[in-house]
């Protein structure tokens, strides 16, 4: 019985090793933060639309589940994920919106003219105020909103085919189901 005490360091080692293994598991980035707004209503915004001279507001997103992609022409990962967004926008029932974060409207327009425009509508967030309200800390970020405008998921960084197929699409299907 007394001998068992010698197992204690080994046990401690296993606990610590288990913790490290969990934190270092592939695909896990310790710097990613969960959204503080998860399952809460998206912050209200009313910003100029990139084209057409109208406004882009939270009300435009509501009614049906929506995917909101926060991007900028100056952001390299945004270019990388762009083809995925082009493909995502063609999927039936996906409503994809864009918010151009701290980006001059001319630059955003040129970016979309060059790479294609997957968005139903794009808002111009020149000061980054809407981004701040969403809790954005690095573009690109992608949010999934349900039909009432509640944030149901947030993806920080460029989307990947795996993230879209395993996470975003199943969630969207669940939200779209009546």
């Amino acid at each position: 019985m007394r001998r068992l005490i010698f197992l204690l360091p080994a046990l401690l080692f296993l606990v610590v090793a288990g913790y490290f293994a969990y934190s270092l598991r592939p695909g896990h980035d310790p710097q990613l933060l969960p959204s503080a707004l998860l399952d809460k209503e998206a912050p209200a915004f009313d910003i100029p639309a990139l084209s057409g001279g109208g406004r882009f507001t939270l009300a435009d997103l509501k009614g049906q589940p929506a995917v909101v992609n926060i991007f900028a022409s100056w952001c390299a990962p945004c270019r990388i994920e762009h083809p995925l967004l082009m493909r995502l926008a063609r999927v039936d029932g996906v409503r994809l919106f864009g918010i151009a974060y701290k980006d001059k409207p001319e630059a955003s327009a040129r970016f979309l003219a060059e790479l294609g425009d997957p968005y139903r509508s794009v808002g111009v967030d020149l000061e980054g105020r809407t981004g701040l309200d969403f809790g954005v800390y690095g573009v690109p970020e992608t949010y999934v909103l349900d039909r009432d405008g509640h944030i149901r998921a947030r993806y920080v960084g460029a989307l990947t085919p795996a993230r879209i197929e395993r996470d975003l699409m199943p969630l969207l299907r669940k939200l779209t189901a009546p």
């Binding site: 710097q31 503080a36 707004l37 701290k102 980054g128 969403f134 800390y137």
Partner: protein, 152 residues
């Protein structure tokens, strides 16, 4: 002496901070409050700096948000809450005490108590050190004989 001079020079150096002149509020008292709040908030881009020290653009945006809230009449906790609502408890450099953070706040104390308990148990179980035994008369006589031999 040189050390004293160096210390005096060091104390003259302003604390490192990234607040730009244009960001400062006209009211010095309110600006001081904004600085106190900023020192409590983590910059989410650089993650180990407060927004008061960070030159990241997002840190500047949050500093501006804090100052806006103060100008609008918020108390310090209300202004901090405005940032927490957007970025979560993670932005607080001093995490709040609540069930999710009990392990963080009380874990070290628990480990200390466990360690102390272990030390006490160990000390109690240790056999008492052997007491020095008095020499018998015969032993003393032999010892005397030996030492006398050495002196010769």
């Amino acid at each position: 002496m040189i050390r004293l001079i160096l210390l005096a020079l060091l104390s003259l150096a302003p604390a490192a901070h990234a607040v730009e002149p244009a960001e400062r509020l006209p009211d010095p008292a309110m600006e001081a409050r904004a600085r106190v709040i900023s020192a409590e908030l983590r910059c989410v881009v650089c993650q180990n700096e407060s927004i008061d020290e960070s030159r990241a653009e997002l840190a500047r945006d949050i500093r501006r948000l804090v100052r806006e809230r103060l100008t609008a009449g918020d108390t310090n906790p209300q202004a901090i809450q405005a940032v927490v609502a957007r970025y979560g408890d993670f932005v607080l450099l001093r995490p709040p005490v609540k069930p999710e953070t009990y392990a963080l706040w009380f874990g070290p104390a628990v480990v200390l108590v466990l360690g102390l308990g272990g030390v006490i148990v160990w000390l109690r179980r240790r056999p008492a050190p052997a007491q020095p035994v008095e020499l018998t008369d015969a032993e003393r006589a032999r010892l005397d004989a030996m030492t006398r031999d050495d002196d010769r």
